[in-house]
Structures are given as structure tokens and as C-alpha cells.
């Protein structure tokens, strides 16, 4: 039952947010969708080219490479972040001293912005790798794992908070019943706790998958796509470039001829991430236990 005063004033509360959403998201999105079918240098002067941009985007080798690389990164990081976050959350919901302090400290890395994080971590990694004569900018393996380590460090705290909330919502009587029935703690964890925490798992997996695919700031600041493999014919493969950076480089790096193609890539990118997110949501939602 909504009270009268709320019924009368809810448009006033909603209006600023809806306006900002339309201006900041809906309009640029539709405009971008339109521009992906054109060739343009600045957004106000365009010429229609139809689906040519999409064909070029599919034919672009670097786009396919970035997609594969991003998918690999996403799988690794989603698993690692969620497993680590859940483990830490599980321990921090036990009655241990200083649990609140731990929670605060684990969450703090999330407050640092992406570019600064990438830059500082690249110096940390190089300080460490320099002793072995390597650098994060010359070794693809280290570029990949460096990014994974960085993102785990940043994201685990955030997911941990969500998992803690989920774990605290597991009904006490179910846990008691399990204990009385003689379940071991492992059995309790897998048969009682996790099914009840499924809503949190849904949210966290969704966030980590979409974050992994959309990753840009940290990728740019940590390696910027380096090292490149220089092919004998002069073309180069940007070995640590993820999808968002690939789109950015297509837009700004190619003397403005490929801006339409970059826009087409951005639309494809949106469809991909939306499809993945929705599929994952449906899959985990089906596993949720009704309270």
C-alpha cells in the first residue's frame, strides 16, 4: 500500500534520475546505433553505408583476437574472484575477532580508480619482474596474469560484501536442522548454505562477467595492449588488448577512417555482453531456492 503523499510526489523523485538516464545513456545509445550504419569523422557529418561496417568488424583479425583474449580473461577472473570472495566471506561470517576490521580492509581496494590502479600495479609488477630481467610490457603471460591479479585484488572486496549479506540471510533453523541431522560442515556448505546463497551468487557472477568484458581503464593503464607481435609484413597483433581497448584504438588510432567500424564493433560488443549477462542470469535464477 503506497501512501498518498508518495503517490503524489513520486514523479518528482524519479524525474532527475530518468532524465539523466535518458540523456546519458538512451540518447547516446540510439545515436551510436544509427552511426554504426554510417561512415563519419565527427558525429554530425555522416554518410550512409549500410552493413559495410559490420562486415569489416567481423573481418577484422584484431577484433576476433581481442574477443578470444577477453573471453579467456573473463573465465579465469570470474571463477577466481567469486571463489576467493565467497571463501573470505564464509570465514568472515564466523565468529572471529576483528571480522569488521577485515571486512573494511578487504573492501578498500575497490575504492581506488581504475587508471591509477593500473599504473601503480604496473610499477609494482615491474619492480618485482625487473629482478628477473622481465617486464610486464614485454611478456604477454605476465600481462595476462598481472591483469587477473590486479582485478582480483580490486573486486574481491566488493563481491565479498555481497556474499556476506547473502550468508547472513541463510535461515538459522535450516542450519540447526542440518547440524542435528549430523551433517559435516562440508555437507552443510554445499547442500544447505550455497543453495540459499544463490541470489547473491547470481548477482556476483553477473557483475563479474560484465565487468570482465567491459574492462578498459585497468587494461589501458597496466599494459595498453603491449607487447605487440610484429608480423613480417608490418601488421601487428596487440597481445594484451581487450575488447573495449580494441574499440577505442579502432576509433582513435586509425586516422578517423574506421570510426564507423568502431561504432559497429561497439554495437556488437553491447549485444554480446547483454546476451551473456541474460543467459547467465537465467541459468543461476533457476537454481535459486525459494524461501
Amino acid at each position: 500500500m503506497i501512501s498518498r503523499s508518495v503517490q503524489k510526489t513520486f514523479p518528482l523523485f524519479l524525474l532527475p534520475t530518468v532524465a539523466a538516464f535518458c540523456i546519458g545513456f538512451v540518447w547516446p545509445f540510439l545515436h551510436g546505433l544509427f552511426l554504426s550504419f554510417t561512415k563519419f569523422k565527427t558525429t554530425s557529418k555522416w554518410t550512409w553505408v549500410g552493413i559495410e561496417n559490420y562486415l569489416k568488424a567481423f573481418a577484422d583479425e584484431s577484433f576476433r583476437y581481442s574477443f578470444g583474449y577477453t573471453a579467456m580473461y573473463a573465465i579465469v577472473s570470474v571463477v577466481l574472484i567469486n571463489v576467493l570472495a565467497f571463501t573470505i566471506a564464509y570465514f568472515l561470517t564466523q565468529k572471529i575477532r576483528g571480522a569488521n576490521l577485515f571486512r573494511t580492509v578487504f573492501f578498500m581496494p575497490n575504492l581506488i580508480g581504475g587508471i591509477v590502479l593500473g599504473y601503480i600495479w604496473s610499477m609494482i609488477f615491474d619492480g618485482f619482474l625487473g629482478a628477473y630481467g622481465k617486464s610486464i610490457l614485454t611478456d604477454t603471460t605476465w600481462g595476462f596474469w598481472g591483469l587477473v591479479i590486479l582485478m582480483c585484488w580490486q573486486q574481491v572486496g566488493y563481491m565479498m560484501i555481497i556474499y556476506i549479506a547473502g550468508l547472513q540471510a541463510v535461515p538459522e533453523d535450516m542450519l540447526e536442522a542440518a547440524r542435528i541431522d549430523g551433517a559435516t560442515s562440508t555437507q552443510t556448505l554445499f547442500k544447505v548454505t550455497i543453495p540459499n546463497v544463490m541470489p547473491s551468487i547470481t548477482i556476483c557472477t553477473f557483475l563479474s562477467i560484465t565487468n570482465a568484458f567491459k574492462l578498459f581503464d585497468q587494461n589501458l593503464a597496466l599494459t595498453g595492449g603491449l607487447p605487440y607481435i610484429i608480423n613480417p609484413d608490418g601488421t601487428s597483433v596487440h597481445t594484451t588488448e581487450m575488447l573495449a581497448l580494441n574499440i577505442y584504438n579502432t576509433f582513435y588510432g586509425q586516422s578517423s577512417n574506421s570510426r564507423g567500424v568502431a561504432q559497429a564493433k561497439a554495437v556488437l560488443f553491447f549485444i554480446l555482453v547483454a546476451a551473456l549477462g541474460l543467459m547467465q542470469l537465467k541459468f543461476t535464477r533457476d537454481k535459486e531456492v525459494q524461501q
Binding site: 518528482l12 539523466a20 615491474d126 610490457l137 609484413d233 608490418g234 586516422s255 577512417n257
Partner: protein, 449 residues
């Protein structure tokens, strides 16, 4: 009472969201742009000027000049400076603003002329073009339209601390070719512990410093190729021969092997080569004339302790080359701006180069301006460059301005140089050559279509 507080809070929230809500300011405004609010009012009958500035170090001087012009003539001049390295992105965003787009912007090299050529007014025969005292810094597009003209020129080479050179036991003008440069560099590097200073400052490969090698030092190679085939270099050549890459390698190897900072540490940068030079820890610093106002003079170095030598790589006849003179600072007028605004902009430019007070201020900030009535510069490096020219040494013109898809091209080169720095083998140098030479052809094709 509770209702009143609730309504008040709601009102504050709405005001807060609306106030910081839909403002479209995608460009990075200069930190002291006092003129912006005034300039976005309706244009007066005399037109308005909007200069999207390329040089962050000149922002302060330009704001003062804008205020001066407004006082004298009443015309609004808005100067916004794009953050270092983001000029292309900022210009793309600003050009979309229709009537409020920049009326004056920088088109400094072939790649920019390719992108922005259609937005440039043809400056042939215009009042501002008639004020030039040289055609050397004019930029034409493929159809021969005069897209932009230089508003300042600079030179680069290897800055030398002659006080340290003399301390090491060499005469001030001892270095005249690669053989002598190599002798001095290797000797000083070997005796670094005893002397207290080393030969070359760090050759960092991060974004703030890599252009000194991927853009400037490589100019030596392009220059000698252009001497072999001048007609090929009248427009951007489709491909390079790479004949002088070995000479480039000579100089590059000398630089990274006789430096304060070991080569393997250069990838991530952060060694502050400028500071190494100013504090007297290094004797050679590959850089340009802009460093005088940008760091060396404020850092306390004296003009008589400094000189600049050309890039020597062991090419026959290199004793007869001078420094690299040229510019990436060419201003263009927006052809889509209204006639009034175009005229106002042209008038502003002419005022800037003919008014003694204004040109003195501009020259102090930019360095020399190639205009008949502009005040001469006091930059010591430009004076040295003039000495070379007077002695008949050839100018190493900025062939590097032709680099196609300059960002993508240089990024590949940086990657190859990083690999080489970490492990200086011949195989890795082949990659560097591929990036420089074959990469040029690839980017040329990409830029064309």
C-alpha cells in the same frame, strides 16, 4: 514538522541532481579558463574566436593574451587547452558543437591534415598567410589546399651540457660527427664513477618520453632517405626504403648502452630524464628547444652551459647537417564557422603576430614565430640552430610529420623497441626495422581507406 523536513530534503536532492545533471562538457577545460562563461553568451556582431590550444605549457600566456585582446577590441577570445596527448580526442568532441565549435585549431602533421582537411579554410592569400616570412611550415592537403600555417617553430637534437663536457676534458665544439660522439659517450660512461656524471640521460619508453625516439630520433633516417629521393617526399611516401636504419641503430645503441639507466629498465619509464640532466648527472639529453622554457631555465641551467648537436649516426657527409627545425604547431581556421567568426579569428591571428606586446608574450611562450613583424626569440637553442644555418649546414626538416596513423605506427615501434631494450639481439632489431619500415606501408594503406 517531519513532513516539512522531508519535503526540504527532497527539494535539495532534486536541485543537486539537476544542477550536476545534463551538462555536455566532454572536453577538458583549461584550469584557468576565466573566459569560458563569458564566451558562451550570444556572439556579438563582431564575431567570436575559440582557440583549441595544442600546447599545454602555453595555456597561461594564451589566457593573458585573450584578455589583452578583449580589452583592446572587445572581441571575445576563448582559449581551451587539451590535455597533453589528447588533442585529437578533444578536437573530435569539440567539433561536434556546431556554432560553438573551435574557430581556430591545430592541424600539425599529415595524419591530422587527412582527418581534418575538410574543416580547414584555404589560407592561400589571406591576411595572416601574407604575414609569414617563410613557407617552410605550411601544411597542404593532397589537393594542394593550404590547410594550416605554422605559428611557431622549434628545433630538436641532442642537448649537451658543455660545462660537463669540458670537465670530462673535451672542447666545447669537439663533437662534429658520429665518431667523435661515440668516443666522448663511451669514454664518459666508462669513467662515470670517477667523473660523477654519465653520458646519456635515461631513454624512457613510456608515453611521456617515447616520442623522442619514435618521432624525433627516427627523423634522421627519414631525412637521409628524403635527401636520396626528394621528389618522393613532397607528399607522404607510400613506403620507405629503410636504407639508414643501421645508422639509426648506431645512435640508438650508443644512447641506451652509455646511459645512467640500464636498457632493461626503460620499458615502464619513470626515470625523469629531464631531472637527470638538470641536476648534472647526465651530459646528453635528446630533446627540443621547448625544454629551455619548459624545464632547463626554471631549473637553473645557464644558456652558456648548453648547446645542441645534430643526430649523428655515421652517415657520410653528416658534418654538414644541422639541427631538426620544423613544427607540429600549425593553426587552421574552421571553414564551417560563420564568416564573422572567421574574420574575427583572422584578425586575432594578425594582431597576435604584428602587435609588439602580444608577439613578445607569444614568442616568450612558444619560441620563435615565423612572421615578419614578430619579435625575435631569446631561446638559446634556436640561436644555435641559426648559427648552424648561417654556417651552411643543411636543415633536417621534420619528415616525421608524414608518419601515417601516427599513434598506431608509434605504438608498434614502442613495443618493438621495448623488446629490443630488454634483449638487444639482431633478431629483435629486425622487429624494430619491420615496425618502422613495413609498419609505415601498412599504416599508409590503412589511412587511405
Amino acid at each position: 514538522m517531519k513532513k516539512l523536513i522531508a519535503m526540504l530534503l527532497a527539494l535539495v536532492m532534486v536541485l543537486g541532481l539537476v544542477a550536476c545533471g545534463a551538462q555536455d562538457t566532454p572536453a577538458t577545460d583549461a584550469p584557468k579558463s576565466d573566459d569560458t562563461t563569458a564566451a558562451t553568451n550570444a556572439p556579438k556582431a563582431t564575431g567570436k574566436v575559440y582557440w583549441l590550444n595544442f600546447k599545454p605549457e602555453s595555456d597561461e600566456a594564451l589566457q593573458e593574451l585573450a584578455a589583452m585582446y578583449k580589452e583592446e577590441t572587445g572581441v571575445e577570445v576563448k582559449v581551451v587547452t587539451a590535455a597533453s596527448g589528447t588533442y585529437n580526442e578533444t578536437l573530435t568532441a569539440e567539433m561536434d558543437k556546431g556554432a560553438n565549435a573551435p574557430t581556430m585549431f591545430v592541424v600539425g602533421n599529415a595524419a591530422a591534415a587527412e582527418t581534418w582537411g575538410e574543416y580547414c579554410l584555404d589560407l592561400t592569400g589571406t591576411p595572416i598567410a601574407n604575414e609569414l616570412n617563410t613557407d617552410a611550415y605550411n601544411l597542404y592537403d593532397e589537393d594542394g589546399k593550404l590547410c594550416s600555417i605554422g605559428y611557431c617553430f622549434e628545433c630538436y637534437g641532442i642537448i649537451v651540457n658543455t660545462a660537463l663536457l669540458e670537465k670530462a676534458g673535451y672542447a666545447r665544439d669537439y663533437i662534429t660527427n658520429f665518431a667523435t660522439l661515440k668516443e666522448v659517450a663511451e669514454d664518459v660512461h666508462a669513467r662515470a664513477a670517477e667523473l660523477g656524471f654519465d653520458a646519456f640521460a635515461a631513454a624512457d619508453m613510456d608515453a611521456s618520453s617515447s616520442w623522442r625516439f619514435t618521432g624525433h630520433m627516427i627523423n634522421m633516417e627519414y631525412y637521409y632517405e628524403s635527401v636520396d629521393a626528394p621528389e618522393k617526399w613532397e607528399v607522404c611516401p607510400a613506403e620507405l626504403t629503410g636504407k639508414y636504419m643501421d645508422n639509426f641503430r648506431n645512435l640508438y645503441d650508443l644512447m641506451i648502452n652509455n646511459s645512467l639507466t640500464p636498457a632493461a629498465e626503460l620499458a615502464n619509464g619513470g626515470h625523469d630524464a629531464q631531472n637527470q640532466f638538470i641536476s648534472g648527472k647526465a651530459m646528453f639529453y635528446p630533446q627540443g628547444s621547448w625544454e629551455w622554457g619548459n624545464g632547463l631555465e626554471p631549473g637553473g641551467m645557464k644558456a652558456e652551459d648548453l648547446t645542441m648537436i645534430p643526430y649523428y649516426g655515421g652517415v657520410a657527409g653528416e658534418e654538414n647537417t644541422g639541427l631538426n627545425n620544423g613544427t607540429e604547431n600549425c593553426w587552421a581556421i574552421n571553414s564551417e564557422a560563420s564568416e564573422e567568426d572567421q574574420k574575427a579569428t583572422m584578425d586575432f591571428m594578425v594582431w597576435l603576430v604584428t602587435n609588439p606586446e602580444a608577439s613578445a608574450k607569444a614568442v616568450a611562450s612558444f619560441g620563435a614565430m615565423p612572421y615578419k613583424s614578430a619579435v625575435t626569440s631569446t631561446n638559446p637553442f634556436l640561436a644555435i640552430s641559426n648559427d648552424y644555418a648561417a654556417a651552411g649546414k643543411a636543415n633536417m626538416w621534420w619528415a616525421t610529420n608524414y608518419q601515417p596513423n601516427v599513434d598506431a605506427y608509434r605504438a608498434a615501434v614502442v613495443s618493438a623497441l621495448n623488446t629490443y631494450n630488454a634483449d638487444p639481439t639482431d633478431a629483435n632489431w629486425e622487429q624494430v626495422e619491420t615496425a618502422f619500415i613495413a609498419g609505415w606501408a601498412v599504416q599508409y594503406q590503412a589511412a587511405k581507406g
